[in-house]
């Protein structure tokens, strides 16, 4: 439109803006600050006594499993309710402080069963339970870091602490090890008797997904290995971090992807990914890799790989947000959600359009610290496990926070929207507080307004 056309298209009535002078403007701004301090802020004090280690969405997006060091919990996404605690593992936290770290949870492809790995009563165990009752139908004494159900089969494929791929039929109890995975890759070994060894290696299986057709397993081998010790037994009291600091690391900042034929148990393909970090799409069709360190100006942040061919599909993404720590790819492979930050107190989440490499939205926070990102099977939301031990549900299309789920040692729970409306268990309100003008009080006087399970449900309906 030319200037003349613009002039012609002007309305005949001049704008009647309500204009105020500079000092009135300042008075209003001060009023807003006062109002902000005086506004009612509903918040929940998180329980940080346990650490959420693993989460999973059910295939129909309706449920979430969260596994912390001691418990596995089943959540109803539609209402934000904690349905029940499925597993309670008991161990001596002083004597076995490492026991809670290898929790892994997942749903079966039909959503009828769940799997949990964990340590209880002196044993590493993999358990299969029925849903929603949580009744354990089979268990095997095995330590495992990750696992996946085979579609249409009562079997799970596990990556054990010995860095072995093991197929276990939980109906018959028969298990078989996959070819050539034994010993070749073990970075560290965590034996069932509680003894721990660190061992020189070429890498570990750190992630594994079964393809939708159930024919292949995609496993990523992380080569962040080191030299310096062939095998070193750690004392129970010995701190793993201190030990790792004491040896000379020889980091190979790359990983490789292995494609296994599940029917034969043989390796079908292996290809290198020259980046140190990665994630695999839920269908096992593609992998996204990136470097931790922010790339040079102009370089791309991410590379997308076709797992079946081992070929690079494309590179994309600028690095304006600093180092990239975590990322996840939507099941349709169209979007990637990354977490990055320039310092520990700054987190930036970015949703990328994989096709164009454009940023769809970004979210900056100085309070949010994220341990993991999981995208729902329908790609509508992301589940963030935060460092304060909360589960945050974020809308993928617009990056808006939908709700945060809190659970407590006494099995009470609270699910709260960013505007303070909440749903909670019978005694969950003891954990909900209100802050007005820096004074904290109980939710009691505000319950009538903020206890709104209907609003929580409505907000969460976008996830379905």
């Amino acid at each position: 439109m030319t200037d003349i056309e613009k002039e012609e298209n002007k309305s005949l009535i001049p704008s009647r803006k309500y204009e105020i002078d500079l000092y009135s403007d300042t008075l209003i701004r001060r009023g807003l600050e006062l109002a902000e301090n005086l506004s009612v802020k509903v918040f929940v004090q998180p329980d940080q006594s346990d650490r959420i280690v693993s989460v999973a969405f059910s295939p129909d997006n309706r449920f979430i499993l969260s596994g912390d060091c001691h418990k596995v919990k089943l959540w109803d996404v539609s209402s934000g309710k904690l349905i029940k605690t499925l597993i309670r593992d008991k161990y001596d936290e002083d004597q076995e402080p490492w026991a809670g770290f290898d929790r892994f949870v997942c749903f079966s492809t039909d959503g009828q069963y769940f799997l949990s790995t964990g340590y209880s009563a002196g044993q590493w165990t993999v358990k299969i339970g029925k849903l929603p009752s949580g009744k354990i139908i089979r268990s095997i004494n095995r330590g495992a870091t990750t696992a996946s159900f085979l579609p249409g089969s009562p079997s799970v494929l596990m990556v054990t602490h010995y860095n072995i791929l093991e197929l276990w039929n939980f109906k018959t109890g028969i298990s078989e090890k996959f070819e050539d995975s034994d010993d070749r890759l073990g970075l560290y070994k965590l034996y069932d008797d509680g003894r721990r060894y660190y061992k020189r290696s070429t890498g570990i299986f750190s992630s594994m997904v079964i393809t939708t057709d159930g024919q292949s397993a995609v496993a990523v081998v992380d080569q962040n290995a080191y030299t310096g010790s062939t095998e070193h037994e750690l004392d129970l009291e010995e701190d793993i971090d201190s030990f790792c600091d004491s040896v000379e690391w020889d980091l190979d900042e790359s990983c490789y992807i292995m494609l296994w034929d599940i029917n034969t148990g043989h390796i079908a393909k292996t290809f290198d990914v020259p980046n140190s970090s990665y994630c695999i799409s839920a269908d096992g069709g593609c992998a996204l890799s990136w470097k931790w360190d922010a790339p040079e100006e102009g370089d791309n942040l991410f590379t997308l790989w076709d797992i079946q061919t081992g070929h690079k599909i494309k590179s994309f993404g600028s690095a304006r947000s600093g180092d990239c720590y975590k990322a996840a790819i939507t099941p349709d492979g169209k979007y990637a959600l990354s977490e990055s930050g320039s310092d520990p107190n700054f987190t930036m989440l970015i949703l990328w359009d994989v096709e164009t490499g454009d940023e769809i939205w970004s979210l900056e926070s100085t309070t949010l610290q994220i341990n993991s990102i999981t995208i729902s099977p329908n790609g509508k939301c992301a589940l963030l496990v935060c460092s304060d031990n909360t589960l945050k549900i974020l809308s993928i299309p617009d990056g808006k926070e939908i709700a945060t789920m809190y659970s407590f040692a006494d099995d009470e729970w609270v699910t709260i929207k960013p505007d303070g409306y909440y749903n909670c268990s019978a005694d969950g309100e003891q954990y909900i507080k209100v802050r007005i003008n820096n004074k904290v009080q109980s939710i009691k006087n505000f319950k009538l307004k903020y206890y709104r399970p209907d609003l929580v449900k409505k907000a969460l309906s976008v996830v379905m």
Partner: protein, 264 residues
């Protein structure tokens, strides 16, 4: 019986187009008047909220600024060689002066009751806007007259003055400017141009409303209204908060005066 020719004249394509465009125009006129009403209401509400806020909280903030300016000036006088203290005193005084002037000019305006336009007021405003809105004519000669009347109508609406709105309407209807148009062809062209003109105005109103809603004044108004819905007097709470600060500032000023051996 032979079929005779229909006595009803078939509609020409111009007639059909005229009817269609006329229909579009009527809908747009309705929308335009509704939007004008929304904008006029929002402007009055913002103006009245601003007055209310300044009268209740602004006055206290200006008092606080005055005491803080006195503190800064006293500190500067206690340390005559301290450049920073002098600059701070100067800045704080300018700020207090600005706040006081802003408050004075706002409270000098006639206080008004909260704006709650009646349905009758809204109906007559819409009727007036539908008749006299400057964007409804293509005639340059009458446009200025319409604009002037529309301004008067906006003023009358803001004051809740139904009588004045009715008299504007009567004045317009008896005016020769109210009569326009000659022949269907010319009328069709006029309608098309009016439609375009009205669409531009509706977009302009929407932008104005959007801009007003993006102001901090509107944000503050919303917060106060939200609190009212929760049966909380946010402005009252704000006064309590500012009064606490004022009380502390006064205590500090008193202590400083004592220290500086200045008569309170």
């Amino acid at each position: 019986m032979t079929k005779g020719k229909s006595l009803i004249k078939n509609k020409t394509p111009e007639d059909i187009e005229f009817e269609k465009k006329n229909n579009d125009l009527n809908h747009l006129e309705e929308e335009l008047t509704q939007r004008e009403l929304e904008l006029a209401t929002l402007l009055v509400e913002l103006q009245q909220f601003h007055q209310r806020y300044v009268r209740i909280v602004g006055v206290k903030l200006a008092e606080l600024d005055e005491v803080e300016a006195q503190i800064a000036e006293l500190l500067a006088s206690l340390e005559p060689k301290n450049e920073e203290a002098r600059e701070n005193a100067f800045r704080t005084r300018a700020h207090a002066k600005g706040s006081a002037e802003s408050v004075d000019s706002t409270i000098a305006e006639e206080p008004t009751e909260p704006f709650k336009p009646s349905e009758e007021l809204k109906r007559i405003y819409r009727e007036v806007a539908k008749k006299i809105h400057p964007d409804l004519t293509l005639n340059d000669k009458t446009r200025e007259h319409r604009h002037k009347l529309m301004q008067e109508a906006n003023q009358a609406y803001a004051e809740g003055n139904i009588e004045r709105l009715v008299s504007i309407l009567n004045e317009w209807e008896s005016s020769p400017n109210a009569v326009e148009g000659e022949g269907i062809g010319a009328e069709l062209v006029r309608i098309i141009r009016k439609i375009s003109q009205i669409q531009i105005r509706i977009t302009a109103i929407e932008n104005e409303i959007e801009e007003l809603k993006a102001t901090e004044l509107y944000e503050l108004k919303l917060k106060v209204e939200e609190a009212e819905n929760d049966e909380r007097d946010l402005l009252g709470d704000m006064i309590t908060d500012v009064e606490k600060k004022l009380s502390n500032a006064r205590k500090r000023l008193k202590a400083l005066k004592k220290k500086g051996n200045v008569k309170a």
